[in-house]
Assembly symmetry: D2
Homo-oligomer: 252 residues x 4
């Protein structure tokens, strides 16, 4: 069992059922059970005691995610997150990579959507990893695992993905793009978010080369959202910064 | 069975199993089976013979939807569709209304996401209704029903929704907003897309009044996407028209 | 002489030239001269002693304008200012009104462009009026006058305009639009900037009515600019809030 | 006299005034006068017979410019033109270069604004050159000259500029940027418009290098305008494609 989910469950153990030594331990806490021994054969019943949070499939408000301060605002905004998830072409069974996970929002919503799949995330900033872990717990997700590290480290231990999201880059962008497109399953999508001219530039240069060499398809969507904010008894529009969503599909 | 799904299945009927009169009819077409009579007791096995289309949970490319010509371009664009679905705060069990469904894209992706829920759609243009039906069949959806008519007609026959999408308006916008917010379950969201100043105006005026009278919350997001298009061996950005996504939440 | 321009000039007075009482007072300060009396007939020579600031015709950087703190950011941004000036269809001789002048940027650049015309400005906030005055002095403009007050006050004392700019509104928007279009010379343009849904709404409703009644033409441009900002050794794009530029032309 | 302005003037010649041979030829056409000989000394009076077109200083509607068909839409749109002119930091005396002039709109409005300066334009497409010439005549401009050719050809024959505009590039972009910044007068601005990722990329890479080597300053503004269009009795917003306005200032 990953994470601190122990508090959400009780454990009942039925020992040697239908024998004279039959004994049932009802609703033990996970911690108590961990320190006991049980006769065999036995039967274990796990019961959830806290309601699963009723989160939507995706589209949580930005402030529902724990984020690093004061760099708030670095989270993938809801609008960009929704479009990025749409472009990842997720199925319920998808294996998803989230590289440069930050607070985890994109990968965590992917995990909610892909409840029969699994999301592997990696993030180099330790405080971000801790936040993403907390966010995972709040959302009650079991099919998500975040690793502290710097891609491409660890990626060789992950299964080949159906979809890859890159939300940030610590300087290995060109190599990561090539690696992601190598590891992706056929027709799988790589989706990236950029806010700097330089990263957009690096990505489009790398993708143009891979288009010629390997026949991958790619495109760029720029997204610009503005949100209403109350002012006196009126509503003004406040702009979010524009984001480039760069998408590439592995050839089939 | 809704729609023209007969071709996707065969039917096998096992009559009077384990008796002397046991007889098994293997893999009948639905049409043939409909004209036969079977001895009782019998056991029926339904087998899907065509693979379910492998569509993603949401985010289909715009051209995957049949649309009216020459008014192409009226479909809710992928970026706006993704953000609208995000704002609808869907759960797998959600009951969703899609009013002014057009080619059906928003409601159909909602139905894919809400596989244990149901989507009720209405559209006044007959050609659009036919396209939405075809789009539904292509996507293999059983939890979606579109009605030909003009809202608020028929809405009184639908169950109360968890989420309501209004993609277009034939002049009843103010009344529809009020009706939707009355019928919505507590904390459910109404999400609307507008491209005209006048509809934005009508909606924000109505919502300001309902905010004062009923304490609903509402906001406006403007979304502006641009997509790369190849030109010579370069990529230029082509703008989609801006769309206002107006969201209102029923008070709890 | 308008304003505090005294320091920019010296005054020489030649009394009774070509007579025995001929006397020349060379390069008096304006203040000294004001306290003296001179024999007649005399000849006055005014000499500029400080160079005129070398400002461009328009397009000054936002930070070149004194602005109220902390409400910085309320100034009409350079991009919006440029497009608004373009839509005013200015000639060198134009009479321009600037209603709700704020820090004065639009009207002051109009005055620079219309060096044979005149700009009449009004602003209800006293601190803004003081800033606009200072900005005028820095730019060395003589064909600009700002009045402290709330439009439509004072407008009846101004000559009919060739172009009217409304940058803000204290609640009289509908009436101001009608007044501006009444007073404008034939084919003159009214240009307005709005950041709230409600003002956009009020303006478009008023203009639709005037279109039907008086045959005026009008249109709306939404402008969304993003500016690069250095980050590490890269450049990210920072969005300015979107602004609606509403333009109406008086029928000829 | 440049261009076909002959029809706009008449010529009167006063021969040997105040002598017995005094003779005045009144209001000759330029063509007639060209074929006559006159006694000396004489005095010539040139009279404009057609009114100068009453064009605004800048901001002409896009359709006021002759453009190549069907490539309409390639003209620098009014909003982008206004912001580009603003960033050029024009004075009435400015010497301006317009490289890749297209239909001429930016350079022609610069010439209107800089009535005591001069605009030198170059364009490689012959049909564009012809359109720009026609547009110049319609606007009655004498301080504008367009050359048919491909930059950097001919630029060595032009005086050093106070402002340089590059509206298009036939592949020499990096070299042109370096040349423009070399030739610009101190503190002069280079302003460029790009619509492709690749040109933006080439320009920002070149400017980053010149920033390090020569201390130039540069920035990027992205402009996205949408214009209202009537639909039924409402107004929808139609997006213009986004344009990157890249500006660099020569170090002082």
């Amino acid at each position: 069992m990953t994470g601190n989910l122990a508090d959400d469950f009780t454990l009942s153990v039925a020992e040697k059922l239908l024998t004279d030594d039959e004994h049932v331990h009802k609703q033990l806490s996970i911690h108590d059970a961990a320190q006991m021994t049980f006769n065999e054969p036995n039967l274990v019943i796990l019961q959830r005691t806290t309601a699963l949070p009723s989160a939507p499939l995706f589209g949580l408000a930005d402030n529902r995610y724990l984020q690093r301060k004061p760099e708030k605002g670095l989270i993938t905004k809801r609008e960009v997150r929704a479009v990025s998830l749409a472009r990842l072409q997720l199925h319920r069974e998808s294996i998803v990579w989230d590289i440069g996970a930050g607070s985890g929002s994109v990968g965590l919503e992917a995990a909610t959507l892909c409840d029969r799949g699994f999301v592997y995330a990696i993030e180099k900033n330790e405080a971000d990893v801790a936040n993403a872990q907390q966010n995972r717990l709040r959302m009650g997700l079991h099919n998500y695992r975040i690793t502290h590290g710097k891609a491409p480290e660890h990626l060789d231990q992950w299964p080949d993905p159906d979809a890859v999201f890159i939300g940030g880059s610590g300087g290995e962008l060109g190599a990561l793009i090539e690696l992601a497109l190598t590891r992706l399953n056929a027709e799988g999508w790589l989706v990236m978010n950029f806010v700097t001219l330089e990263n957009l530039n690096t990505a489009s240069t790398a993708l143009s080369r891979l288009e010629q060499e390997q026949g991958i398809a790619w495109d760029v969507t720029q997204l610009q959202a503005s949100r209403s904010r109350p002012i006196l008894n009126m509503h003004r529009m406040q702009a979010e910064n524009p984001v480039w969503i760069v998408c590439a599909q592995k050839a089939s």
